[in-house]
């Protein structure tokens, strides 16, 4: 009886750790509708009895204006995704947006994602107006991505710790962006950076090591060498901190390894290339087919140029790389077009983008689907004008 009372008291005492306040909650279904959210980048959106189903290249959801302090808040998201990819959550304050990436993995059923919002702001706690959530491209999947609900909670200590813990192991920087090769994103332990937490951990190890050393010296009645003791304890603290750092940061590579074995093993080089560069264009495999078409069509030594892409355009740069040995030159008479809104009018031999005439007179030399084609500058009569410079390789 006494044990039952004590147990009940303990449970009562522990309850506040799990209790939390719900600040905002949005359920998406037929009865609630989109509840004031705005959807963009979605090719399709359907509300079912259970959830919102979306497809699109980058489906993005923008919350109604609410206004909340991010400190101590956790965003909880229940979704079912058919695809793996990087998603992003952004907090909007006026014209500023603080964002972070998070991973989405395909699941059979709905899965909860918790993100500690206090960790998003580099300036600490801050009041935000809206939440923006961006999902990965789902257009290549047969199923849509489903969103059951979005909540902003202020959980109790246990809930907060849980969000911090999952956030700490988040491998958001492992994607295919160049940032990975230039710098590594520092994990966060709730509101502080991993290294700040590591310094606290090292201070504790230092204190423990120093105390253990003093105790053992006293037990053996040996004189305490303060300098040596401090050096030894500091060394142990640094080694422990360094090992913990290595463990955490190498965990990233472990996750990447698993993911890449799944994504790359057993696939042709071309498929792997399309997989990696898919972040620049969702039909990168088609882009590579088009590159092959251009390479096999233009005469040997003849250079090419894009119709409208400016020098810094990523797809233009990628074409330049993959087109080799075909060189790219501003003076080329062969002009390529890939998914850039350029339209060809064979009656007038004109290549247009909107109202602007991009090239005239040109004739179509090769085509791959409705959005990719190769043209050649011709004379007014429709023959090749032969004025193009031969690109030297």
């Amino acid at each position: 009886m006494a044990r039952a009372i004590i147990l009940s008291l303990l449970i009562l005492l522990a309850l506040p750790a799990f209790a939390g306040a719900r600040e905002y909650a949005w359920d998406f279904d037929r009865s609630n509708g989109l509840a004031g959210w705005v959807l963009s980048g979605a090719a399709g959106a359907v509300l079912t009895d259970r959830a919102l189903r979306v497809t699109g290249t980058r489906p993005t959801m923008v919350s109604p204006a609410v206004g909340f302090d991010a400190r101590g808040k956790v965003l909880m998201l229940r979704i079912k995704s058919p695809v793996r990819g990087a998603a992003a959550v952004g907090l909007v304050a006026g014209r500023d947006i603080d964002r972070r990436l998070f991973d989405i993995v395909p699941t059979e059923g709905f899965r909860d994602i918790r993100i500690y919002l206090g960790g998003l702001s580099p300036r600490g706690g801050r009041t935000y107006d809206r939440v923006v959530i961006q999902f990965p491209d789902t257009t290549k999947s047969l199923s849509p991505l489903e969103v059951d609900f979005v909540r902003i909670d202020e959980p109790g200590p246990a809930g907060l710790l849980r969000a911090w813990w999952t956030g700490f192991w988040d491998v958001e920087f492992i994607d295919t962006r160049a940032a990975t090769v230039s710098n590594v994103k520092t994990p966060r332990v709730g509101p502080v950076s991993f290294l700040t937490a590591l310094y606290v951990f090292m201070a504790l190890v230092f204190a423990a090591a120093a105390a253990a050393s003093v105790y053992s010296r006293r037990a053996s009645q040996a004189a305490v060498d303060t300098g040596g003791l401090v050096a030894r304890a500091a060394f142990i603290a640094f080694m422990a901190g360094g090992a913990l750092y290595t463990l955490r940061m190498d965990y990233n590579w472990l996750v990447m390894w698993g993911r890449d074995i799944e994504a790359l093993s057993g696939r042709e080089t071309r498929e792997r290339t399309a997989d990696r560069f898919g972040i620049y264009h969702r039909d990168f495999d088609v882009f590579l087919d088009f590159i092959d078409l251009v390479k096999s069509t233009v005469p040997e030594g003849a250079p090419v140029r894009p119709a409208v892409r400016p020098p810094g355009d990523t797809m233009g740069q990628l074409a330049k790389y993959f087109l080799l040995p075909v060189m790219t030159s501003d003076r080329a008479r062969f002009i390529w077009v890939f998914d850039d809104g350029t339209v060809y009018d064979p009656a007038t031999l004109t290549l247009r983008k909107g109202l602007e005439v991009v090239a005239y007179p040109v004739r179509e030399v090769a085509r791959l689907g409705p959005r990719a084609a190769l043209y050649e500058e011709v004379d007014e009569a429709g023959g090749a004008n032969g004025t193009g410079e031969g690109g030297r390789r």
Partner: protein, 465 residues
């Protein structure tokens, strides 16, 4: 077949470099075959690309046989010199201290397995991922591809693509692109995965070089611990899988420093020449490689002057390989006005007086707090910076009173030169996080080595000279 061709493309330079390094280490009984292999890989890669550069300038079309013959001649010459002295490059080393037992053995096994897993990861990623990172396909690999398809350096002055114009930053050194060209020559195609496979072995070579150099100072367990923490630096690992030039530069910086340290410990001038060879290859990898050349040169000059050693002989031993290796490239740059910036002739320093970029003028003090935050609060470098500072304060007398001070001259010189560049020119490399971490990565192995040497001196109780 592709794997075999890639293996040949990697093994040939390794063998060539092994024989060259074997000559310089012929009188060093502490260096064994594995260490020479780790050093030989980078030396061979440097020699092959040096031969390619000379062939390109001379108008000799690139081909695997002709480049192999050139590099083979260099290797044969050094092998002849070694044998002439009655030595052999194929000789086992003396063990670096007693074997491990008890908890030390278990700790070594844990760290060894961890590092082996890291090597397996890098090998897998390096042989599975296609060329993808931005600067790789946008500069280094595209240059390698252009040279491969041209079978030369495109040195036709009438061409708009002169020396790869439009496809690469003309003032950037050629080791990385030419290594990709070399691999492609053996493969018979520019393979999007295997063309950059050499990066994997720079990572392996760097860890191997570090281990063997550190084991002589700190014993096997200390060296393994150093490798464990160094390999934990995330960017180093990642760069082992991609076609950037920062990892090769980190390798050459460490190899040059380790050779210089070997000279300081034993007085063997051949090691000075080896240091010169490696720093020159660093300068043929990235323009920042010149920082290591200047830093080690400065440390050597201070050493020779303060220790009353023969200055001319010492400097000559270091500088002769530098002149031979760096000379042609620097002369080529000067003749063609290539500069050190991102384009032909225009160095970043030109921005300082360009009225179009008023934001670039003056001293950019704003980089200092960004750098401080990056060194101490971000997760790019393990805990080496706070540890280094704590250790330096603790062991300051040993730093000043022992040869470790020359390692400090190297580290502080390189950091200072980067700092000057950030403060005066490339401030965006810091504020936009595009270069700071990669730059820092290039001298991090030298910093780890310096720290380990200092720690080991405390452990063994040795101080002074």
């Amino acid at each position: 077949m592709s794997a075999l061709s890639t293996a040949i493309a990697l093994l040939l330079p390794t063998g060539c470099g092994y024989l060259v390094v074997g000559y310089f280490l012929r009188d060093d009984p502490r260096s064994g075959m594995l260490e020479k292999l780790a050093l030989g890989y980078g030396a061979g890669a440097g020699i092959v690309t040096f031969v390619m550069f000379l062939a390109g300038v001379a108008g000799v079309p690139f081909g695997a046989p002709v480049i192999t013959a050139g590099a083979g001649a260099v290797a044969g010459f050094f092998y002849y010199l070694t044998r002439r002295d009655g030595k052999s490059p194929f000789r086992a080393s003396r063990p670096a201290g007693p074997g491990l037992a008890g908890w030390r053995l278990y700790l070594a096994i844990i760290m060894g397995v961890w590092v082996a897993a890291k090597l397996a990861f890098v090998f897998y990623e390096g042989t599975a991922r296609p060329i993808f990172s931005w600067d790789a396909w946008n500069h280094w690999s595209t240059a390698g591809k252009v040279f491969f398809y041209d079978r030369g350096l495109l040195l036709d002055r009438t061409s708009e693509f002169y020396f790869g114009a439009g496809y690469r930053f003309l003032g950037h050194p050629l080791l990385n692109p030419l290594l990709q060209t070399w691999t492609a020559l053996w493969l018979g195609e520019f393979h999007e995965v295997y063309a950059k496979s050499w990066a994997i072995f720079y990572f392996f070579g760097l860890l191997g070089t570090f281990y063997f150099a550190a084991a002589r100072e700190a014993g096997r367990l200390g060296a393994l611990a150093g490798v464990f923490f160094l390999a934990g630096v995330p960017l180093l690992t990642y760069h082992g899988t991609t076609a950037y030039s920062d990892l090769p530069l980190a390798y050459y910086g460490l190899a040059g420093t380790a050779a210089f340290w070997g000279y300081l410990r034993g007085g063997n001038r051949d090691l000075l020449a080896l240091a010169g060879l490696f720093v020159s290859m660093g300068a043929l990898t990235k323009n920042e490689g010149l920082f290591f050349f200047i830093a080690i040169g400065a440390a050597l000059a201070v050493h020779l002057a303060s220790e009353k050693k023969p200055v001319v002989a010492g400097l000559a031993a270091f500088l002769i390989p530098c002149v031979i290796l760096m000379g042609p490239w620097m002369a080529f740059k000067a003749v063609n006005g290539l500069g050190f910036g991102h384009s032909g002739g225009e160095a970043g320093i030109a921005l300082l007086s360009d009225p179009k970029y008023p934001e670039a003028h003056g001293v950019h003090w704003q980089v200092l707090p960004v750098i401080a935050r990056d060194f101490f609060l971000r997760a790019n470098y393990n805990l080496i910076f706070p540890f280094w500072i704590a250790l330096t304060l603790w062991r300051r007398k040993d730093v000043l009173g022992s040869p470790v001070r020359y390692l400090y001259v190297i580290v502080l010189s390189v950091i200072s030169m980067f700092l000057v560049v950030y403060l005066l020119v490339e401030f965006s490399a810091v504020t936009e996080a595009t270069g700071l971490q990669r730059n820092t990565m290039t001298y991090l192995p030298v910093l780890f080595f310096t720290v380990l040497v200092l720690l080991a001196r405390g452990r063994t109780g040795s101080s002074g000279k």
